[in-house]
Subunit: 287 residues, 2 copies
């Protein structure tokens, strides 16, 4: 699984680099290239694996795979801004507003979001009906009823005295990180016109397991391995899966969710073993 993830991450990176080569030499273009490098490409990998499961052409699937990584990169650049999470380190490197400035970081995020929609509506991505479907679903997953809603709930939670309950955190995370993971996991099925239900169930469990592991890393990890600041949630007195379930409880919950994710793919048999491997990888990672 990890070899295939690395190979797919390489293909996505190459495609992103090619697309962004045309964007000139101004600081925003340069920072767009910077912000899209060095990620694990888990979301793009989900697109490519979901496409393989449905015999979708890999060259076509590379467009939505690259699009979701551009969109994810935009969300990180804006999330790291001083007015948001105020993070100086991302993927082991200075964040965009630290390396350049805030105005550049705002524009880079904005341009990366546009780029995601440009990539997904590229003619090589598939017939128009596929592109329109991918665009509509991505816009909904990213916007004020998806990822941005999750971020808004997250910010609102910081200013209330009562910590969130487990149900509230689950709702928040399903919007904040879950919506894009759901979109990525189902994009290949969408392209094939197949049933989205099995991969949707897989993605919901995977997304939560992913977030629980993020909370675990925030408590147990070190910044060098994580490539970003750690210990921030506890310091802020923020409710997390770890603060609510305890470290062992959070790990047990993540393991159960990974089992759920794997079982959701039973209709695909052994063909889905790579996606099952990804689910297990997600809760073993340290960054």
């Amino acid at each position: 699984m990890q070899d295939r993830l690395a190979a797919d991450a390489g293909a996505i990176q190459t495609h992103l680099d090619q697309v962004l080569r045309d964007f000139g030499e101004d600081p925003v273009a340069e920072a767009m290239r910077y912000a899209t490098r060095g990620g694990k490409c888990i979301r793009g990998f989900l697109v490519l694996e979901g496409a393989r499961l449905h015999d979708v052409d890999g060259a076509a699937a590379l467009w939505p795979a690259t699009a979701i990584e551009a969109l994810h990169a935009y969300s990180l650049v804006h999330d790291d801004l001083p007015a948001m999470d105020n993070d100086a380190l991302r993927r082991g490197q200075p964040t965009v507003h630290v390396k350049w400035d805030e105005a550049t970081a705002i524009l880079v995020g904005d341009a990366l979001q546009s780029l995601a929609f440009e990539l997904i509506s590229h003619p090589d991505c598939g017939p128009p009906a596929t592109r329109a479907d991918l665009t509509l679903s991505l816009a909904r997953a990213a916007g004020g009823q998806g990822m941005v809603l999750g971020q808004a709930l997250d910010i609102a939670a910081e200013s209330t005295a009562t910590p969130l309950s487990l149900d509230q955190i689950t709702t928040l995370q399903q919007a904040k990180t879950g919506a894009l993971i759901l979109w990525a996991a189902t994009a290949g099925a969408r392209m094939a016109g197949a049933d989205l239900a099995p991969l949707s169930a897989y993605a919901r469990a995977l997304g939560l397991a992913f977030q629980i592991q993020d909370d675990v890393i925030d408590v147990t990890g070190d910044a060098a391995a994580a490539g970003k600041a750690v210990g921030k949630d506890a310091a802020a007195g923020k409710a997390t899966f770890v603060s609510l379930l305890g470290l062992d409880g959070a790990r047990a919950r993540a393991a159960t969710l990974v089992d759920d994710a794997c079982n959701a793919l039973s209709c695909y048999g052994a063909r889905a073993d790579t996606l099952r491997g990804l689910a297990r990888f997600v809760i073993s990672r340290q960054n």
Copy 2:
């Protein structure tokens, strides 16, 4: 012309309000509604008029008309941020980061950009091929080779000692404000599968005339009439069409551009008189 503009602006506003009614009661949703109110809707009007010229169904054209106003609103919210133009007043009201905070303003802009792509890929907007074409062209007009490039050039210009030349300002403005105006004016022709050339020529001249008038208002207007801060460019020693051409020269240039814009529509005859009226309106407005 102004009656029709007012009627179309009302229809666009109603449609935006309807769409945003589903977005809940969190501050980001509330601020999205706030940020999309009170505009002149010139870009949306261009979409609807371009559609009328080509006998495109008005209900279908309302989707891209609403989309371009959502996209324009996003660009204003982000432009007004402290790290960008740092403006406290917009459309006669406090800007989003003043009324709420910076984090909300960043998220509101992000969500409004997603919303634009959601609107434009809505099934009621037209057949999939139309939607895919509108999406690809809008993503290019908005992103790092369109509007955001213009904003990046604008920021870069502020930090260089030599003021921009007329050619450089023209290039900058054609990206910063011209790209969206071009998209809006040609959207109806796109939906009809018609030749984009006449409306493209119209939009290029109109976009520049629009920007020149903005520079004129910045020098001659007062904040109450303009609904935003004025005199900022001169105070910042920034090169503008007025600083380069003088006030009379700038006005004369705008008038010539309006003639060019009107002439570009000769193939449409009297049917394009409303668009010609809009071009004349653009250089007479005080806000």
